[in-house]
Every structure is written in structure tokens, then in C-alpha cells.
């Protein structure tokens, strides 16, 4: 039995890196410290795609890695409008090869931010993002606002490691001297812990943010007695807390990105942060979901200039979310092939786009089976990053951390799979004289 410390979790955007595990007979046998229940489950391992497979006559038939990779390359090389999608639950090293492949075959490369914090990216492109690292929050924040986010369920260690319950330099008494505000449409587990819970009406985020912004700038007279289901006095109390805090932070989740108004709502949330910053230190941060969704945005940006929805058909980067984002391409039935890596559009895309996905050749690369596997035509199992493979990932605050390899495996890592597909594609294209 070997004990491994400082293990980095490859589950959510928290990327906890103080986990201790025990490894015996090349298996993680115990998670001793640091991980939440979901992280623990990932580290301990569960049902996975056992072997590479190619769909024949409607059912997946096991094959060798070589055959699966060759088949994938043939499909991609023959495609006229390929989509390369996913990239958030793997390491940056694999993402880089993805961008290179997209250039090679003139593909659209898009990632899960497209259906997640894509609106946040659009808002940042509009007004910027006054933010900080999570350690800043831990050491300084005395006011924490979760808006449309429920970390108690979705980022289980977030409050403990970084925010409300953590202890830092100016916050050594933990939550005792901190205030927690939760804004949500329902009374979540996080809301139950809050000093102030603003239960807003569905779809009224924009209005409530506007009211807070007006109050922060001193325009109390324009705010009506009730906004989005919240009495004015509660808004005034919240604003008083914001002004009196020494360091405030808004964490926002999918409840804000996927409500009416979309990126406009997030622009407004950032404007509220700017307004609060005229009184005290205030920051804002998106609660990124997958452990490396921030990382694919980083890689895609430094390699193409743009964070998601990048069309490389012309040989240069064409960025236009809404036109070349994955769901839009699929709904228009424009792409004729999809490579899906480290994600599950089968479970998360709108029905209309899944219907098209089911019709076209789909290559899936993933350690785990998911609804996408049900219609994938080539399935390539990958080593589990953070357990069986190492590599770089970016935490939700864009801090880069290296995943550790804990055990050996026969499965091939995403980066290697991608490199082999790229090599095969190049060989085919060379043969065809392109």
C-alpha cells in the first residue's frame, strides 16, 4: 500500500489539490482526506468504457485501438464540415492537439462553455471581469454572494476551501465574521446557510441586478417597493452589507447564465460589481463546472485568439457564437461528422441537435460511457486524467494545476489518442495529395 498526498481532483472547477489517497495493487483503494463525495467516487473509479469499438449494423463491436483510431481518422479526413466538441474534462495537452487537428482538417472546434458559461464569456467580452484568485477570497472576503449557484450540491468543497467556511489571514474566525447572501429562485441547501436569502422570481435576475446597481450608485428614488419578488428593504439591506464589507465577491452559476437575458444578465452582474467597487473592494467569478473547462478556454484563446465556437474552415479562426457554436451547427444540420471528447452532448444538448448528431458519424473519446455512447459510431476509451494520466488543468479562477497520475493503465491518454488520430489524418491527406 502506498499513500499519495497532494492528489489533484479531476471533477469540478474547484480542482481540490490536497487529497490523500491509498493505492494498492495499482488501484485507488481509499480516499483518506480532502475529496467531496463525488470527487471520491471519481478517484475510486466506476463503470468505464472497457474497449475500443466500432458500430456495425447498429451495434458496437469491440476492436483494437489501432482500428478505432484508423476508422476515426478516415471519418474525419473524409468529412467536409467536421465538428470537434467537448475538451473540458481532459487536460490542456490534449486540447492543444485538438486545435491542431481542427486546423488540419478545417473543423469547427467548440467546447462545453458553449452551452454553459458561454454567456459569461460574451459578457466578459463586453465589459471585462473584475475578479481574483480563490485564495484572495479565502483570506479577505467578509461578504460572499452566491447568485444562481448552489455549491452545497454542485461544488461541494467550494465554501470550505475557498469562501464562506474557509479560514484565511484576515478571516481567521471563518464564517463567524463573514456574511453570506444567496440569490436563487428556490431555497437550496446553500440558501439555508445564508444570512440573507433573496428568493427572486424566475427570470427576474436582470431586474434585481439593476435595482442593486441603482442603489449602489445612490439612486434609491428610482427603485420601486418591490423588484422581482424582493421587497425594497431587503435590497437596501443587501446593498448596505455590500458597502460595509471590506472585500466582497459574487459567485454566479448556471442560474444566471441560463435565465432570460442570458449574457445581458451577466453584464449587469459585472456592472453591479463595478458599482460596488466604487465603495469597497468587490470581485465576481463564474462558478465553472468541469475541472478544465477554464483550461480549454485558455488553450483555445492563446492558440486561435478566441475561447470557444471557433471555425477553422477558412484556415484562420472565425469566431461567431450563435453561428458556429456546436448546437447551432447541429440544429442547422450543417456538420457531417462530430468528434466528441470528454463531454456528453447526448445528455446536455437540445433534442433537435441530438437528432442530427444521431444521424452523422460520431467519434467518442471518453473513459466513461454516457448517453453519447448510445449513438457513437467509433468509441475510443481513454485513460482517466488525474488518476491514470497527468497533465495541466485550469481551476475556475484560472490557476493552472498539474493533475497527478496515481496508477498505471493499459488505456491510452487523451493527448496520445488525439496525436495518433492527427497523424493518421495527415497520412491519409498526404496520400490524397492535399
Amino acid at each position: 500500500m502506498v499513500e499519495i498526498t497532494d492528489v489533484v481532483c479531476s471533477l469540478c472547477g474547484c480542482v481540490c489539490d490536497d487529497i490523500v489517497v491509498e493505492v494498492e495493487d495499482n488501484k485507488v483503494t481509499k480516499v483518506k482526506k480532502g475529496a467531496c463525495a463525488v470527487g471520491k467516487s471519481k478517484l475510486m473509479g466506476h463503470g468505464r468504457i472497457e474497449e475500443p469499438a466500432i458500430r456495425e449494423n447498429g451495434s458496437l463491436k469491440a476492436c483494437s485501438y489501432d482500428d478505432a483510431i484508423k476508422k476515426a481518422a478516415e471519418i474525419l479526413a473524409a468529412s467536409r464540415r467536421p465538428l470537434l466538441y467537448g475538451w473540458s474534462s481532459t487536460v490542456c495537452e490534449a486540447d492543444k492537439v485538438g486545435v491542431e487537428l481542427a486546423e488540419e482538417i478545417g473543423a469547427v472546434i467548440d467546447n462545453t462553455a458553449s452551452v454553459c458559461h458561454g454567456p459569461s464569456v460574451l459578457a466578459i467580452q463586453d465589459v471585462g471581469l473584475p475578479s481574483c484568485t480563490l485564495g484572495e477570497v479565502k483570506n479577505r472576503a467578509d461578504l460572499i454572494i452566491y447568485w444562481g449557484a448552489n455549491p452545497a450540491a454542485a461544488h461541494a468543497n467550494h465554501m470550505k476551501r475557498y469562501s464562506y467556511i474557509s479560514k484565511g489571514y484576515w478571516t481567521e474566525e471563518g464564517k463567524k465574521n463573514k456574511k453570506l447572501v444567496v440569490v436563487d429562485v428556490r431555497r437550496t441547501a446553500t440558501a439555508k446557510m445564508a444570512d440573507v436569502f433573496l428568493q427572486i422570481e424566475q427570470g427576474k435576475d436582470y431586474l434585481v441586478l439593476s435595482a442593486l446597481r441603482a442603489l449602489l450608485y445612490g439612486y434609491e428614488d428610482v427603485v420601486p417597493e418591490e423588484v422581482g419578488g424582493i421587497p425594497k428593504k431587503d435590497l437596501l439591506e443587501t446593498v448596505k452589507m455590500m458597502k460595509e464589507s471590506k472585500f466582497g465577491i459574487i459567485f454566479f452559476g448556471m442560474g444566471v447564465t441560463h435565465t432570460r437575458g442570458r449574457h445581458n444578465t451577466i453584464v449587469n452582474a459585472i456592472e453591479v460589481t463595478r458599482a460596488a467597487h466604487t465603495h469597497t473592494k468587490f470581485s465576481i467569478m463564474p462558478m465553472r463546472g468541469h475541472y478544465n473547462v477554464a483550461g480549454i478556454n485558455q488553450v483555445c484563446t492563446w492558440e486561435t485568439g478566441f475561447p470557444f465556437a471557433v471555425d477553422l474552415t477558412r484556415g484562420y479562426a472565425w469566431y461567431n457564437p450563435g453561428e458556429v457554436s456546436a448546437t447551432d451547427l447541429l440544429i442547422r444540420r450543417e456538420c457531417d461528422t462530430a468528434l466528441i471528447i470528454a463531454s456528453d452532448p447526448g445528455a446536455h444538448f437540445p433534442g433537435e441537435s441530438i437528432r442530427h448528431l444521431a444521424k452523422i458519424p460520431v467519434i467518442q473519446i471518453d473513459p466513461f460511457p454516457n448517453p453519447t455512447t448510445e449513438f457513437a459510431d467509433v468509441v475510443i476509451p481513454a485513460a482517466i486524467s488525474g488518476v491514470e494520466a497527468e497533465g495541466n488543468v485550469y481551476r475556475m479562477d484560472n490557476i493552472p494545476i498539474r493533475l497527478r497520475k496515481l496508477v498505471d493503465t493499459e488505456y491510452i491518454a487523451d493527448e496520445e489518442i488525439m496525436k495518433r488520430i492527427l497523424e493518421e489524418v495527415r497520412a491519409i491527406r498526404e496520400k490524397e495529395g492535399e
Binding site: D17, E100, P130, C132
Partner: protein
């Protein structure tokens, strides 16, 4: 490094480190290095053309978190520079914040072969290195930010410069960095509470002043045989009347004996620190006063931070400065404070010749170059992309070489140029030897890289050569600018990487990093304190903090022993 032999025949060579000032001579390269002679070489005919060592940029923001945040929030900038992939090159995008590939290609096309990334937040050092690896052709290094760090300030307060030295040594090693970078010392920590610091203000909660931080870091840096001095972006950048803060900052290292023949401080993007007046209304150039100081003293070197007119993306660890700038323009603003260490601010900015303030800033950058007598004391930079993108260097070069061009340009600027700057009264014109000094020789020497084959063409030097398609007698500013934008040939490690302005090969660059060697007992004592910081205050663990070797696949290590 390319194997085989190369002969560059009959070029007019400017190699200031070796005292070669426009001599017609041959350059021989074998297996990537300059040699005495070759026997069976590939020949490049450089007859009548200007030949210089590969350019060395001492200060440019090309890789890492803030550069990428700049790209991410400015798709409108990304659109400006798009270029399709070729058989050799990856696709390009961006103007002021080019993608990694464009960064490498565009520098190489200007004849540059080494670029120093000017600010690496230690906690995000892996990010900087990930991007450096992705920049083709260029050799590179990065300066870790070590001045607003709690550890630094605590050792400054307790006066333990040996332990401070142990800390900076450990950090430079852990980040695979090159030297000590200082950015608004104390002010960036204060910014975590939305405050700022002047040079002699007390940093909130830390009971030290920025002046003490700078001085102690300079002392600590010189305890090792460091190739480079501390690299300082001082307090009050961009504020009217800041020139006295600037010279007071220079004074701090007077009397500190540098390890080798270089100053004890490199003061960067000096244009932003040479301001007179008390408000934007009576803002004026104090380039003369700063140049006067540099002329009379030997303990400070500078780089220009010269303005390129047009739109750009400003980015710095000086968070409060970016906030001020955003308040002036009302444009988008990104901020990213980094726990226990530093911060980041980013906002777009338009330098306009119609604006009196921008006009004076534009004049100051060039005035500094023209008023500092000894070109070995300054390097050409635009603090890319803060004062403008690096592809504007050829514009500055042509300005410095042509009084005629400066006079013509001044006519297009705001009329304040005639009464609140010295610009129009300066007649000096740079010659090519001086241009070679401020674009390669000085930077290489100040960074100590000339001892590692950079910035010159002596025997044993790297075979990095730029051949410009111009005669040494050329006086037409437009032709000079054109020649310096796209080389006839750029040769990197003996391999032709640019031919007729097109990139023809993209070898990987090397990453240079310094390993300061500190006494183990001192290091152990320091680590007790540092580990406590990780235990209680950092959000990553101590063992996951140092940059792993995998991030620097092409390393070049420079050891810096403790000075006895």
C-alpha cells in the same frame, strides 16, 4: 539548432558587443554556433545589406494569464490579425494581443530571436510556460513577480535580507523564472483592498514602504551571481508629476554593488514614469530630467516603453493603474488579484495624436532615446502591448534615425508637442550601430545573455542573425521602417526561419531560466515560514506549487551561485 554549415557572405555587419560597426565581413555558422571558418557551407549572399545579431527584447508581455485574458476579452482585436495557416505556419490572429503563433512569426520577421516575458505571476507560472512553449522560433525567459509577496514584505520588515534572498532564490527556481520583477511594490497588495501606495507610503497591514521593498530586493538579488538586476516598474506609473517618484526610486539602489558589469536596477517602460505637471491639464514631458539622471549615473538602465499610435490592450500587475485608466476611458476592464503575490489589470486604450496627453506621451518615449547619450543604457521597447504592439518597433527605429520623419510626424500631432515637450528641438539621429545597441546589444548585456550566446556574433555565439534588406547608407525613413518590419533573412541557431519576409521554418525556442544557489540552512529556515503560508493562506498545496519540468521541454539553465 540546425546541423551543418552556413556562410553569410559580404554583409555589412553591426555587432556592437564585439565593437563591429558596419564592417563588411562574413559570418560563419556551424551546427548552430558562430565559428571562425567553414569548409562546405550553404551560402547566403548578403552583399551590401545590413546584418545584425538576432534581436533581443528585454521587456514584452507575450505569454501568460494576463495576455490571454487580454485576448479573451478582445475578440475585436483577434479579428484584426487573422491569417490562414500555411504549409509551414499555424494560423495567426490578433494585433495588440496576437495568438502565440503570430507572436513568434512576427518577432522573427523583424529579426528578433529572444524575448523576455516581462511579468509572470508565480502562482500562475505554469500558464506562462504553457504559452511560451507554444510560441514558435523565439528563445524566451520570464520574470516572476516577487515584490508584493507577503513573504517578501515580511522579510523586508524584519530586515532579514539573507532569508529574503533564500525566498527569491526558491521562487525563481520554483517558477523557472529569470530574475526579480517588481511592479508597483506595495501598491498591488494595497489594491487588494482597492487602495494604492506611493513610494514612501506604508503598505496596509504590512508596516513596510515600497521604497524599502525595492531596496531590499536589490540587495537580495545581488547576493547571487545573477545575470540580471532587479527589473522595476515603480510606483505611480502613468500619474502626472511622477518623474520625481521615478528618480527617487532610482536613488534607492545607489551604492548597491552589482554582481557584474551591469546596473543594480533595470527601470522598465520609462516613458510612463517621466511625467511632469500636476494634472492631465498641465501634463508635460520630463524626459529631459530623467535622461539627465541616467546620463549622470551608472546604477540604472532603462527601456523606453515608447508609444505606437492607435488602439492597443494595456495590461499590468499594477492593478490600481489599470483601474484608473478604465475610469478615464469607461471601456471594458478586467482585474485579477493573485493571492499572497500580485495582481493583474487589463483595459483597452487608444493612443491618439489628437489628444494632448497622448501626444506628449508619444514624444516622451522618443525623447528619452534621443536625450540619453549612451545607448548602452537603454533598450527599445513599447512595453508590448501597453504603449503599443511590438510590430511598431520599426516605426520607432525610423523615427530615431530620421529627424525629417520626426518633424513631419510632429505636424500631425496635437500642437502641445511644440511647447510642452522638447521633441522638436532635438536634432540627434541614431545610426545603425546605435540601433543595433538598443535592439540587441544592450538587452543581451543587461540580461547577462551575451555570455550565453545571445545578442552578438562573436565566435561561439548562437547563430542567430538578421539580414535586413537595406543598404547601410539608407536615409529614407519609410524604407528603413519597411526593412526592419520584414527581414530578408532571419536565421535562428543556424537555420533560416524567415526568407524575404516569410516564415519558412518554425523550430522550437529554448526557455532560459536561472537557478540561484542558496545555502541549505537558510533555505530550510525560510521554508518553515513559506510552508506555513501554504498551510494556512494559499489555495494550492506546497507540493503542487513549483513548475514541473514537463512545462519547460527545451530548458537552458543558468546557475547563479551565492556570492561569498
Amino acid at each position: 539548432m540546425a546541423e551543418g554549415e552556413l556562410l553569410i557572405r559580404n554583409g555589412v555587419v553591426y555587432d556592437p558587443i564585439n565593437g563591429v560597426k558596419g564592417e563588411k565581413k562574413d559570418i560563419c555558422i556551424r551546427d548552430g554556433k558562430v565559428v571562425e571558418s567553414v569548409t562546405n557551407p550553404k551560402v547566403i549572399d548578403a552583399e551590401g545589406r545590413v546584418v545584425m545579431p538576432g534581436g533581443v527584447d528585454i521587456h514584452s508581455h507575450i505569454a501568460g494569464g494576463k495576455v490571454n485574458a487580454g485576448r479573451l476579452f478582445r475578440p475585436e482585436d483577434g479579428r484584426k490579425g487573422v491569417k490562414a495557416r500555411t504549409k509551414v505556419c499555424r494560423q495567426e490572429s490578433g494585433y495588440s494581443v496576437p495568438n502565440t503563433f503570430a507572436t513568434g512569426y512576427r518577432y522573427a520577421r523583424m529579426g528578433y530571436t529572444f524575448v523576455m516575458e516581462a511579468a509572470m505571476p508565480p502562482l500562475a507560472a505554469r500558464h506562462t510556460h504553457e504559452e511560451l512553449v507554444d510560441i514558435p522560433i523565439l528563445d524566451n525567459a520570464a520574470l516572476p513577480l516577487l515584490d508584493n509577496n507577503w513573504m517578501t514584505m515580511e522579510y523586508v520588515k524584519s530586515g532579514d535580507t539573507d532569508l529574503l534572498a533564500a525566498y527569491i532564490a526558491w521562487m525563481i527556481k520554483a517558477t523557472k523564472g529569470y530574475s526579480v520583477k517588481v511592479v508597483n511594490p506595495g501598491g498591488t497588495e494595497a489594491w487588494a483592498w482597492a487602495k494604492n501606495c506611493d513610494l514612501n507610503d506604508e503598505v496596509p497591514y504590512f508596516d513596510v514602504t515600497p521604497a524599502e521593498i525595492v531596496k531590499n530586493l536589490a540587495v537580495a538579488n545581488e547576493k547571487f551571481e545573477m545575470p540580471h538586476s532587479i527589473h522595476v516598474h515603480g510606483n505611480m506609473l502613468g500619474h502626472p508629476g511622477n518623474y520625481e517618484v521615478t528618480t527617487s526610486t532610482y536613488d534607492l539602489v545607489k551604492g548597491i554593488k552589482p554582481y557584474r558589469d551591469r546596473p543594480a536596477m533595470h527601470a522598465t517602460h520609462t516613458q510612463f514614469h517621466s511625467y511632469g505637471g500636476t494634472t492631465w491639464g498641465n501634463f508635460e514631458s520630463k524626459a529631459g530630467a530623467i535622461a539627465d539622471y541616467i546620463n549622470k549615473n551608472e546604477h540604472v538602465s532603462i527601456d523606453l516603453g515608447s508609444i505606437i499610435l492607435g488602439d492597443t490592450t494595456t495590461m499590468t500587475a499594477d492593478g490600481p493603474m489599470e483601474y484608473s485608466l478604465y475610469q478615464i476611458t469607461g471601456r471594458k476592464w478586467t482585474n485579477h488579484d493573485v493571492e499572497l503575490e500580485t495582481g493583474t489589470g487589463i483595459t483597452p486604450f487608444l493612443y491618439s495624436g489628437k489628444s494632448p496627453v497622448n501626444t506628449i506621451q508619444w514624444a516622451i518615449g522618443q525623447e528619452l532615446a534621443l536625450l540619453v547619450k549612451d545607448p548602452w543604457k537603454l533598450a527599445l521597447t513599447t512595453d508590448h502591448p501597453n504603449a503599443g504592439p511590438f510590430i511598431g518597433y520599426p516605426i520607432i527605429i525610423s523615427m530615431l534615425m530620421s529627424k525629417k520623419r520626426r518633424d513631419e510626424s510632429a505636424e500631425d500631432m496635437h500642437k502641445v508637442i511644440f511647447d510642452r515637450a522638447e521633441y522638436c528641438s532635438i536634432d540627434r539621429e541614431y545610426d545603425l550601430n546605435e540601433i543595433a545597441i538598443i535592439t540587441r546589444g544592450m538587452a543581451a548585456k543587461t540580461l547577462g545573455l551575451h555570455e550565453h550566446g545571445k545578442g552578438h556574433l562573436g565566435i561561439g555565439a548562437d547563430g542567430d542573425v538578421a539580414i535586413y534588406d537595406m543598404s547601410p547608407e539608407e536615409t529614407d525613413a519609410g524604407k528603413i521602417q519597411k526593412a526592419f518590419l520584414n527581414t530578408k533573412y532571419t536565421i535562428k541557431g543556424g537555420e533560416v526561419v524567415v526568407k524575404d519576409g516569410e516564415v519558412v521554418a518554425t523550430p522550437a525556442g529554448k526557455t532560459y531560466f536561472v537557478t540561484p544557489e542558496c545555502d541549505e540552512k537558510l533555505t530550510d529556515e525560510m521554508l518553515v515560514k513559506l510552508k506555513d503560508k501554504f498551510e494556512h493562506y494559499y489555495s494550492v498545496s506546497f507540493n503542487n506549487y513549483p513548475v514541473q519540468d514537463a512545462y519547460v521541454p527545451n530548458p537552458y539553465e543558468i546557475k547563479a551561485p551565492w556570492r561569498s
